[in-house]
Symmetry: C2
Subunit: 406 residues, 2 copies
């Protein structure tokens, strides 16, 4: 009968209204019936967090981060209480806790705190009492008893950290999609759900545009080898397992294709080719709080070179201002901005041991008359910057080329 | 410069929307400017608590009280965070706390918990740091770290208890009326604001229908001699001081007139006049959770008597059912219900030492052709049950008779 512990996490869309909360309660109870111990992590109802942020900004455009955490943490507290009530209604025992109550101790970096440790005694005690334990996601508490939050997507982190601490068999992340797909099903209808994927592939896909799970929590899961199961809260089908290693029947080289249209490209033209110039540019951008993504600098044949890089569109105007200032200092010719770009990437641990993957990618894009403006590679991914209008075509072409629809 | 500590409590209507929260922030800051240390207790925004209760009942008509407290306590937590942000916006230092964070320790009676003790070290420390301390009203925490709430009007209790613990000069209760009135100004336009009233008078008036302040918190204030100042959050005028003793220039016999239309009368007719009969009725009602208010039994000249009593209308059908069952057992003739009643009362510590007050009251009612159905008296109040339609006339007549409009 006793099958071990499962941690389940339900996101905001899974608890957006009363009937969805009741749906979650039924799912949880079904697992309980099967003989699992359950710890359930819940996010705030629907858009509650965004609404609270808006309210705060109306009162103070620059709210103190400590007070912001005090405010936002109420969203998850409402969710856990309501879910407990819904489970009681089904005749099962459940008890809800805030992050503070179950001893999720964090540092003092309000609005983006890091978990230092978890004192899980209370959870263990209530599990022993036969209760389903419901924990408010996204939040913790400092040693000084101040409430903190863990940043966007922080409920994923709560779930993974609890799964690690309690040695759960599995950490189930419930969301509004059926799992991780070979690419965005809105772009390529033949996209297939991936049944197993490695932490590394998932990390690449998360940072390249797939928004199913918070990247930080995948890192933590990888570090502590927590098996994650991403699945739909509206279906009983299993979703995608994220694990350390995937033993695939077939020799899969590429696991997925991602598309990111949120970046813009900045090019500094005719930069004098001497040591320290690139460092100067990117140090200034970093001090300005600008996060730079791809960077490309070609080998130069003259005494000048071009440096291109991409930034998130939200930081473009600031990045551009800083870059122009530096360009004058280093006597570069010009700074160009381009928002009309898309980044298409292929991800797969298999490509490490398969030469020719990049060539195959470039060939496929060329065949579709798509010009490549920048190229960047990692151990398990290759990204190309192309014209924005070609993004979807590129995704479909690569999805086909690497046999992902099979 | 340092003028000591004031505790201020703002109710839900005082923080019902953003501009009212900003108004509260300005009031608080004005006191801070004058050199007072400030502890500010806040209720949930407007109707938040009622909305949360409704939400809970949709999910589970009988929600667990522990989970109810988990849910409801979020309302005040939102208020304190927003008020802190609003005060920051005015350039002042403030810090918000939940009941748990400032160590308001209660028993485990969820939804109606009693405060056991307050560990005010944290508040004292932040006051010493020069901060305005904002505390979530209505809530506390058990020794086991479960969140509790203090029952309807519980924010008053939070404020009074903190004022006692911190030896505040004054506990200011901000509300949407200007103070305590000699009677309801909606009934008698010449009702006057009372500048000083005793705890005992206030307690009588609260239990007789005046709904400005929670009765339990007045009891606590009386016990620990905490001076209370009831006043409007929309005006700078001072309101009503509630204190132990009032030295009045003139000899005020009656301080106020109250009207309560929420009760119904039950009469058991022709009850056999033998010992233990009344006890039997009221013991059963009490076991049934029915709170009985006035009880009148006349001396009987035959071997039978009538017993009348009043209950809150919400408990009428249950009370009637229980009473009818007992009536059959004790062989009484009949049980009559009457919802068409009002209770009019006069309150005043002065009446202890003034004979003839009751006669004056009855005379005044008679002169207005108002029939008295039941009479009940305490040390400092006299109540009459009359026909409901005569309620307002009675209030105006008594207000005039005892010279309260002067």
């Amino acid at each position: 009968m006793h099958k071990g512990l499962i941690v389940q996490k339900f996101g905001g869309s899974s608890v957006a209204n009363l009937s969805r909360i009741q749906n979650v309660a039924r799912r949880v109870v079904n697992y309980s019936k099967k003989g699992y111990d359950l710890v359930v992590v819940v996010s705030a109802l629907g858009d509650t967090t965004d609404e609270l942020i808006e309210l705060a900004h109306k009162i103070n455009p620059e709210p103190a981060e400590r007070e912001m955490d005090m405010l936002l943490s109420t969203g998850e507290q409402i969710s856990v209480a309501l879910l407990a009530m819904a489970i009681h209604k089904l005749g099962y025992e459940a008890i809800s806790f805030t992050g503070a109550q179950v001893g999720i101790i964090t540092d003092t970096s309000h609005t983006r705190a890091r978990i230092l440790k978890i004192n899980a005694d209370k959870i263990k005690e209530e599990l022993k009492n036969g209760k389903i334990v419901i924990v408010a996601g996204f939040q913790g508490v400092t040693l000084n008893q101040d409430i903190t939050t863990l940043g966007r997507g922080g409920s994923d982190l709560t779930a993974v950290a609890l799964a690690k601490e309690l040695c759960a068999r599995e950490c189930q992340i419930y969301t509004d999609v059926a799992g991780i797909y070979t690419t965005d099903p809105h772009i390529e209808r033949r996209a297939k759900k991936i049944s197993r994927i490695t932490y590394d592939e998932m990390l690449e896909m998360a940072s390249l545009g797939a928004q199913v799970m918070q990247a930080r929590s995948i890192e933590v899961a990888k570090k502590f080898n927590v098996p994650i199961h991403v699945r739909s809260s509206f279906s009983k089908k299993s979703g995608t397992m994220i694990v350390r290693e995937v033993k695939r029947m077939e020799d899969v080289v590429v696991s997925g294709v991602t598309l990111n249209k949120k970046e813009a490209k900045i090019t500094v033209c005719n930069v004098p080719d001497r040591p320290g110039v690139a460092a100067k540019i990117f140090k200034e951008l970093s001090s300005g709080g600008i996060s730079v993504d791809m960077i490309v600098q070609n080998v130069s044949h003259t005494r000048q070179t071009d440096i291109s890089f991409t930034v998130n569109k939200s930081g473009l105007s600031k990045a551009s201002r800083i870059t122009k200032k530096i360009a004058r200092q280093i006597q570069a010719d010009d700074v160009l901005e381009d928002q009309d770009i898309a980044r298409v990437s292929i991800v797969g641990v298999g490509m490490k041991s398969h030469p020719g993957v990049a060539a195959k990618m470039f060939e496929s894009l060329a065949k579709n008359k798509i010009n490549i403006e920048m190229i960047s590679t990692s151990d398990i991914s290759i990204s190309c910057i192309i014209k924005k209008k070609s993004g979807e075509t590129a995704v479909r072409a690569l999805h086909e080329k690497f046999g992902l629809a099979k």
